[in-house]
Amino acid sequence: MANKQMMARIGQIALVLLGISFITFALVMLAPGDVVRQMIAGNEDIMVSQAEIDALRAELGLDKPFIFQYLDWLGRALQGNLGFSYMAKKPVIEELLGRLPATIYLSLASLLFMIVVSIPLGIYSAVKRGSVFDYVVRGLTFLGVSVPGFWLGLMLLWILGLKLDLFPIVGGTVSLETIILPATTLGIAMASKYTRQVRTAVLEELHQDYVVGARARGMSEKHILWKEVLPNAMLPLITLMGLSLGNLLGGAAVIEMVFGWPGLGRLAIEAITYRDFQLVQGVVIWIALMYMIINLVVDISYNYLDPRLRKVR
């Protein structure tokens, strides 16, 4: 990727972050109830004196007009200060960094599940198109994309955790034992989607002229599949994989809730439920940033992997 394009992409990321932060900020202002009061009392019904509220309001600069508040926040955020979390009783940035490892482990574990399951299944069902195997795979993946993840998670928890007692059912910690169920839950939905895409991509390549040509020249099917078709078919799938990784980092919130997994998604939900708005703001920006950086990295690597793109630029 040329430098100019790189700069344009980074500029775009900055713009999106600006937009997202503005939207969340505005939403918080629109939110029903007194933010400051909730900051002190949380969701509990504690008596808070008006003087106390006013003091904190002035301290946070929340008595100023909206746009100044936003600029204040932005100025501090640019210096790496995302505010203080009342829920966690520590700076927002610390809480975000603390939750990051759990989310990364879970994302990588689900991604691993997805790759291990979907690539062989997708390739094999494309090669054996129309066979019983192909139909079974297509049927299962159809069910896999239609099952609500949170329900699947609860069912796994109930059957494998409670009935068969194979896995711990109490969440909250990060370990090999506790990661299997949430990673499988996320992995099943992703693998189902991905298997279909691998299958389609391989089928498409199998119909290309060069395959017909290679067959005509008497090359073995094995050689055609491994050396010609697969490298070509896998390329576009990398982008999709990057997108799913980005979605995992941000979108696994519901599954993290089901399993009590201490990651960023669950942090977002907790922060919203607790009305800890500095934290909400921080989590949303953080997830957006990670998502966009991953997409950027995927695009760059794509450029290196696909020789056609390299030549043009």
Partner: protein, 276 residues
């Protein structure tokens, strides 16, 4: 519409799945007749009864009949998702049509906003919007509309750009047709089939997202018998009353499967070029 009716006669898979969709809708409409009990009537001494002949799906913490709640849940969940699909469809399509037809600054603003939305994981924003605005079905629909309209806008815009250059549209412009007339009579009818296919194929996914928000407590509120919310309530009794979690989830699952199948078949009927 004619194609759809013809499809019902010729495409058996489409006919079959259409019947299934109608059955689901019928269940929702006929919930009061089908339900053995009142879905909101609490009878405390019947709390947490496991499934039996009397209560096929068991009862919840307030002794409410779970089968009746699942049946009534079809009303809440289906009307919720239909409202959502309609809103997303209307907002997205009109934004895309306006953007594509008028171009210029309007187009730029709409497309920049839409760029911003796709470079961001939608579900987390939806959770934030619904959560901050406060849990209710309407807020959940609003939140998901905000994150989902861009897909429709892009699709509609690209189709409008193509059709705009066709002879019959240019002829209408030359003949002094007013923009609204041209949009309504010449452009909209041509993009509708693809837009409808997209919306139909999306019902299942949107249903899961809506149920997901309810599951987190950011959608329908108690005591509404809504499937996502019932799962949320059932989740807390996973050890003592798993039936409270099994049946509402199964209802969502079946509904999503039916709508996904129907969406696939509708695409085959309306847009026969694409094949699996």
């Amino acid at each position: 519409m004619e194609t759809v009716i013809k499809g019902l006669r010729t495409n058996r898979a489409f006919a079959f799945t259409t019947v299934l969709v109608l059955l689901l809708l019928l269940t929702a409409v006929a919930a009061p007749i089908l339900s053995p009990y009142d879905p909101t009537e609490a009878t405390m001494r019947n709390a947490y009864l496991p499934p039996s002949a009397e209560h096929l799906f068991g009862t919840d913490k307030l002794g409410r009949d779970c089968l009746s709640r699942v049946l009534y849940g079809a009303r809440a969940s289906l009307s919720g998702v239909l409202l959502l699909v309609t809103t997303v469809f209307i907002v997205g399509t009109s934004m895309g049509v306006v953007s594509g037809y008028f171009g210029g600054k309007v187009d730029m603003v709409i497309m920049r906003i839409s760029d911003m939305m796709i470079s961001f994981p939608g579900m987390i924003l939806a959770i934030a919007v619904a959560g901050i605005l406060g849990g209710s079905l309407v807020n959940a629909v609003l939140a998901l509309t905000i994150v989902s309209w861009t897909k429709y806008a892009r699709l509609a815009r690209s189709m409008v750009l193509k059709i705009k250059r066709r002879d019959f549209v240019e002829a209408a412009v030359v003949n002094g047709g007013k923009p609204l007339h041209i949009l309504w009579v010449h452009i909209l009818p041509n993009i509708l089939p693809i837009m409808v296919i997209t919306a139909a194929a999306d019902i299942g996914a949107l249903m899961m997202e809506l149920a997901g928000l309810s599951f987190l407590g950011f959608g329908s509120q108690p005591p509404a018998p809504e499937w996502g919310l019932m799962l949320n309530e059932g989740r807390q009794q996973l050890q003592t009353a798993p039936w409270l979690m099994v049946f509402p989830g199964l209802a969502i699952f079946i509904t999503v499967v039916v709508f996904n199948l129907w969406g696939d078949n509708l695409r085959d009927v309306l847009d026969p070029r694409q094949e699996e």
